[in-house]
Symmetry: C2
Subunit: 439 residues, 2 copies
């Protein structure tokens, strides 16, 4: 989209109070659902026209699923809501004095504002990493990685030099959180079961997977038992797990690690962390720790009628000095609580503070294996893997998506195959995303 | 893919004769299948890693199907073939003296060469049309059109001026062949059944579909009865069908037609024709009518051991003075005949000339309606539509694709919905394809 002068972000005025929600992620859509029968006018803004089910993004990147099955068109999700308006618009800033949100297609007044625009890949300011590595936050990024990976194997077939073959088939994954671990597992499975059928000319012993994490264990947010199990599972896939290690430099050809290792690699997947998507115009006092500071009612510090929730919200309390983990359940629970509070406030009732109920966390590592942490119980293996599948299938939006994903999983499981190995997007090295997009 | 110096197109030498096949379209893959148990070494080259089932491309463009279901990964199709090599390579030319094919990743020697690289969109040399209109030949093009179309509706919601709204919601389709007619029907169905649910803010009476053809009737390759029926079906969808009309100019904003009509439109779909994908290095005498001239054994005029088949091949005989129609059945039948001839020749047997068996043609126009021409019988309506679906489903490669397409069709039919309305590709106006790519 090039020029927007002719566009105007206008929503019909009504006698109801207008709540503007920025972001159609887990928090944003939960808030719309919670407010469905409320007495507000709801406006949802997102720069995409779809909600992304991020926990399965790594399966799009590794050719297990097509993007349509992990996304839900936002208009479709709320087609039956009354007094609901979706607008595709990229928010650029806020003017809290005038109670106005600024977007690329014009301004919009709010009575109440909820900032739920989540987090973006954190490159810690390193432009080289931003330019040369693959992030894993959005569907287009996952599709880029998939096409790049398949192109690398096509080039490996055409390559004669051993070092070049190594470079094309090596994968370095930076970050041992759930994304890094799940990508490594999925790549391990591709290497073991899928790719050798496609590329009989390639000796897949040369394909090496390296998982690098700065901390002392994988899945730092989970139990030590699960961390150890995940490491074991990955090593079964021949993944080279390097803890207490950082990436020193990467020039697009060779990765240099803090332990001095040099790995020739055309593919570096950057899953080292995320940081809040902070818009312009917020007062300084509202920002802290890379997030927007909120109280236990999700009210933004220093502003009136403005709320933040999910990854972007830093609710720094005695129990959560670093804020809550940046995961979907926090966003969903905050959205439910905030939605109810907004309806309570409208009726003059008192507000309830947010209390996070940690229902557990999980990660899968290839076929038949996962780790699950419940509050009082940790387990792994086949049963954990089945729990992982069931929970994800039930969490995804839309009956159609559930069916398509289940069908794909059954197919992939039974055939040791992947249905979606098309190189559709031409990979662009030194990508040129808009500033502030993901850097 | 930027630099290819390090890549080499090398295939292990064997004592068998090497057949190099350029293009994994309908003809190319049929030839590989026919030669499966032959005594040749087979090398298949394509610039994509997948075969495209082009007859359903319009459903990808109009959000009815995802690309994976109409494509087949070429490596996967022939995973069990022996002495078969696929290489992803863009062919640039031929040196018939040295019996060498030139590609972006190096040269390759052939004993026998089969040119089956099909046709490309014919802009009749008009750069403006090439830059500003949407072709419908390849999967990335169909995805571009889909994202563009959905972006237009998002912008319509944000637009205040009536002329701008018209421009965003008008579609001009140039060319009344099967592609143009089927796209028009699919858009008509979107307008009538699908889009109004998504965009309650838009009055869809403003969305106008215009189908322009230079000739006196639609579907010129079919019977007059079917042409008339197709026009009737389209008019039921309020499609403005303009025959004996050409596009005079298009500046990206307004279409001007030969009858003087000016249509404000941001979307012009170019389905006005195709022309052979002729590579460099062929002698002048081998080329005629935009195709490579072949005899009835598909041997290229003026060359030794070089064959051409399908869209690219002009078999100009007394019965077919303009060559055969550029459709899949011709390519498939020529490939079968050529494959058998190559095996016969190897055994010293005599060759059989190609005879086209026209089994009929068909086109679908939205829900429940199609036209079918069999050699001695023409029919339309619901039964034709069911025949159309059955034939297409049975023709597509791969059991998985068949299942996925059937499931999507049933879903779309029952719910009046489309599952895949994601704006994933940012539309680039004034596209900059490589020279010779599609112009």
């Amino acid at each position: 989209m090039s020029s927007f002068e002719h566009l105007h972000l206008e929503i019909p005025k009504s006698d109801k109070q207008r709540i503007v929600i920025i972001g159609g992620g887990f928090g944003g859509i939960q808030l719309v659902k919670t407010l469905q029968k409320s007495n507000f006018q709801i406006v949802l803004l997102d720069r995409h026209n779809y909600h992304t089910f991020q926990p399965l993004l790594y399966q799009v990147a590794t050719a297990g699923l097509e993007p349509d099955s992990i996304a839900g068109a936002l208009r479709q999700l709320f087609a039956r809501h009354k007094d609901f308006y979706f607008r595709m618009a990229r928010v650029t800033g806020i003017d809290s004095e005038r109670k106005v949100i600024k977007t690329l297609v014009g301004e919009l007044e709010y009575d109440l504002l909820v900032i739920a625009n989540g987090s973006k890949t954190n490159y810690f300011g390193d432009k080289e990493m931003y330019n040369r590595t693959f992030p894993m936050k959005q569907i287009p990024q996952a599709l880029d990685l998939r096409s790049h990976m398949l192109q690398n194997f096509e080039q490996t077939v055409l390559s004669k030099e051993d070092e070049e073959k190594d470079r094309l088939t090596n994968f370095v994954i930076v970050g041992g959180g759930p994304t890094g671990v799940e990508v490594a597992g999925a790549l391990g499975e591709l290497k073991k079961h899928v790719l050798p059928n496609d590329y009989p000319d390639i000796d897949f012993d040369i394909m090496k997977l390296h998982l690098v994490d700065a901390g002392p264990r994988l899945l730092a947010g989970m139990s030590e038992k699960s961390s150890a199990k995940a490491e074991l599972y990955l090593k079964d896939f021949d993944v080279d797990v390097r803890l207490n290690t950082r990436l020193v430099s990467y020039d697009g050809r060779d990765v240099v690690l803090t332990d001095g290792t040099v790995i020739p690699a055309k593919t570096v997947i950057w899953a080292a962390g995320v940081t809040g998507n902070i818009m312009d115009g917020l007062p300084k006092e509202s920002i802290g720790g890379g997030r927007i500071i909120v109280n236990e009612f999700n009210e933004v510090k220093g502003l009136q009628d403005v709320f933040a929730l999910g990854d972007i919200a830093g609710m720094y309390t005695a129990q959560t000095p670093k804020g809550h983990p940046m995961v979907a359940p926090v966003a969903i629970q905050q959205a439910t609580n905030l939605g109810k509070n907004l309806m309570r406030a409208q009726k003059g009732k008192s507000l309830k503070p947010f209390v996070y109920k940690d229902k557990g966390s999980m990660a899968t590592i290839g076929r038949n294996r996962a780790v699950v942490d419940l509050p009082k119980f940790h387990f792994g293996g086949l049963f954990a893997w089945m729990v992982w599948m069931f929970i994800h299938l039930m969490s995804i939006v839309g009956f159609r998506n559930r069916l398509v994903i289940l069908a794909n999983w059954v197919w992939n499981y039974l055939t040791y195959d992947r249905g979606t190995r098309l190189i559709i997007r031409t990979f662009v090295r030194n990508k040129d995303y808009k500033p502030g997009d993901t850097l």
